[in-house]
């Protein structure tokens, strides 16, 4: 059986005044049914761009999907006519976003925004749609859903809004949920609640989750597989247990050290330097300028992805030498 979502050689480019920015370059991965896959990277690594381009949601004009295939159940979403793509969006693939404050339309009631999806994909209208909307809100643990459907987004807290977004995304029981930094804008206690809810609904609906995040703690708790992006390229991929305990790429190792500083009670072990400017990418490995292990060949040519163990790949010449 093939995977639910197969992404092959996805490249997304932005045309800018200073030249073409390769936001995502040659990205391949798969998401199995019922699995949670985390796409990890810091700001500017291209993870959100990759997530948005799966459903062709990037604003037209500046950005261009330069190459690749995105197969959902065998159908290439990048080649679908717009009409058929709209049937996939919101029905087979649900999506929630980083900032629930901005992701809901401020001038329509919660109930109307949920019912809109129900009418579009399931043909539900009037009282049937309202009843279903209330049921969905109850399912995402929004208290007093009968009153909430008549309220506007500004009447709700950030956590509640993210729950409403989930109600919309899950309204048609999608096979895949794409969650683009769903907890970044929420405070810590609410984060945990929202993540627990995603996990619970995932089990209940049997759906797969593609989780975009920079938070390794979140990855540890929810994901089965991890894909690490750096400067638009995949640098490492593997099962969560391996990646977070025995990383094979210096960037992943650096991320882990930076995440452990609180436990040590010492100063933050940050990764020196910053992500290279997209206009001035180094010719070799994009991470070489910040890497303690970098040698001459790293600066000359980009290391290819190598399979180190079944299911674990990394793009580093010296992968075997990396100590966790």
């Amino acid at each position: 059986m093939t995977a639910l979502l197969e992404v092959e050689g996805l490249s997304v480019h932005f045309e800018t005044a200073r030249g073409v920015v390769r936001a995502v370059e040659d990205l391949s991965f798969a998401v199995e049914r019922g699995q949670t896959v985390a796409l990890v990277g810091e700001s500017g690594s291209g993870k959100s761009t990759a997530a948005l381009s799966l459903l062709r949601l990037l604003p037209a004009g500046a950005s261009k999907i330069a190459a690749g295939r995105v197969r959902l159940d065998g159908r290439d979403l990048l080649a679908l006519p717009p009409r058929q793509l709209r049937d996939v969006r919101g029905a087979q693939v649900g999506m929630i976003f980083q900032d629930p404050m901005m992701a809901l339309n401020p001038v329509y009631t919660i109930g109307r925004q949920i019912a809109e999806t129900l009418r579009l994909h399931l043909g539900l209208a009037g009282p049937a749609a309202e009843a279903r909307a209330i049921e969905l809100l109850r399912r995402v643990q929004v208290p007093a859903p009968e009153q909430r459907i008549h309220q506007y987004p500004h009447n709700l807290s950030g956590g509640m809004r993210q729950r409403v977004m989930m109600a919309i995304a899950l309204a048609c029981r999608p096979a895949l949920l794409i969650a683009d930094e769903p907890t970044t804008a929420l405070d810590v206690t609410v984060q945990a609640q929202v993540l627990a809810l995603i996990d619970e609904l995932k089990a209940e609906l049997g759906m797969a989750v593609l989780l975009i995040t920079h938070d390794l703690a979140v990855v540890w708790e929810t994901a089965q597989r991890v894909i690490v992006l750096y400067a638009g390229r995949k640098v490492e991929e593997g099962p969560v247990g391996r990646i977070l305990t025995r990383p094979r790429h210096p960037y992943t190792a650096g991320l882990l050290r930076a995440a452990q500083w609180a436990a040590d009670g010492d100063r933050l072990a940050e990764i020196p330097g910053t992500v290279p400017s997209p206009h001035a990418m180094p010719p070799g490995c994009a991470f070489a300028p910040r890497c303690a292990l970098a040698e001459d060949r790293c600066r000359r040519q980009a290391p290819p992805l190598r399979t180190l163990e079944p299911g674990h790949v990394a793009a580093c010449f010296r992968a075997e030498e990396i100590a966790p």
Partner: protein
Amino acid sequence: MSPTLAFLTRRLLQLVPVVLAIAALNFALLHLAPGDAADIVAASSGGASAEFTAELRASFGLDRPLHEQFVLFIGRLLTLDLGWSHIQQAPVLELVAERIPATLLLMVAAITVALAAGMLLGILAAMRHRGWIDGILSVVALVVYATPQFWLGLMLIVLFSVTLGVLPSGGMMTIATEMGWAARAADIGRHLVLPSLTLGLFYVALYTRLMRASMLEVFTLDFITTARAKGLSETRIGFVHAARNALLPVVTLAGVQIGHILGGSILVETVFGWPGLGRLVFDALLQRDLPLLLGILLVSSVVVVLVNLVVDLLYGLLDPRIVHR
């Protein structure tokens, strides 16, 4: 009392000092100009002597010190008495009341055309951003925007009344014909087309551009991506999700411009012989009919201030985040 009603009551009470202040300002400004009604009446009688002019002035009450005239004027206003026009020999209130329905009809028609067409074209242009429809609309809007109103009016008359002969060139209704109310309404409607277009087209152009810019800004917001991710069509996203959010700036500008439109109607009413306040202002100005002029200005200011109140109430309807307290 509901919050909206309380808001309305408070705002209406606040109108009283505002309108009085406007009236005082108008009074002061108009009396800075040389000449008065006595001069005009005396001059129109042929060779009037200085004694006759002074007598006229005394009978009009124009010989009293300015501050006394002012106190009388404001005192009468408080009893809703707008005074007496010595030129027209009639109460100002009556003259204004007779003319104001025509002007309001013209204004409402023009602003409706401007808002409806402007919003629709703006939405279309934004949804076809950088396409040929957007290009054509932008150029046409710019041309209309730059065209003088009186010239536009004359050209519309030449095209529709003279060349095509489909619409009347002036007046408000066909005179001295008996007809039922439906036929009368249709008749007035036909007379209304050209003046309201002349008055409204400039604002159509303005609102098209504003609505387009406002829509393009809304299109960059996150909830538009959410709408796309839900699988909605671009048409629905544009007209339902973006348009409602893009309306506020247009409504704000329209509210502010009610005063301009009232000013513009003077010109348009003159071109089309429309029997509204505009013509009355024009005549009153030439004849130094200060009581009439002050009365018209006062009524206009009340209209403008009331429209602004309506706009404030509209905000609450258009954007649920705005609550009137």
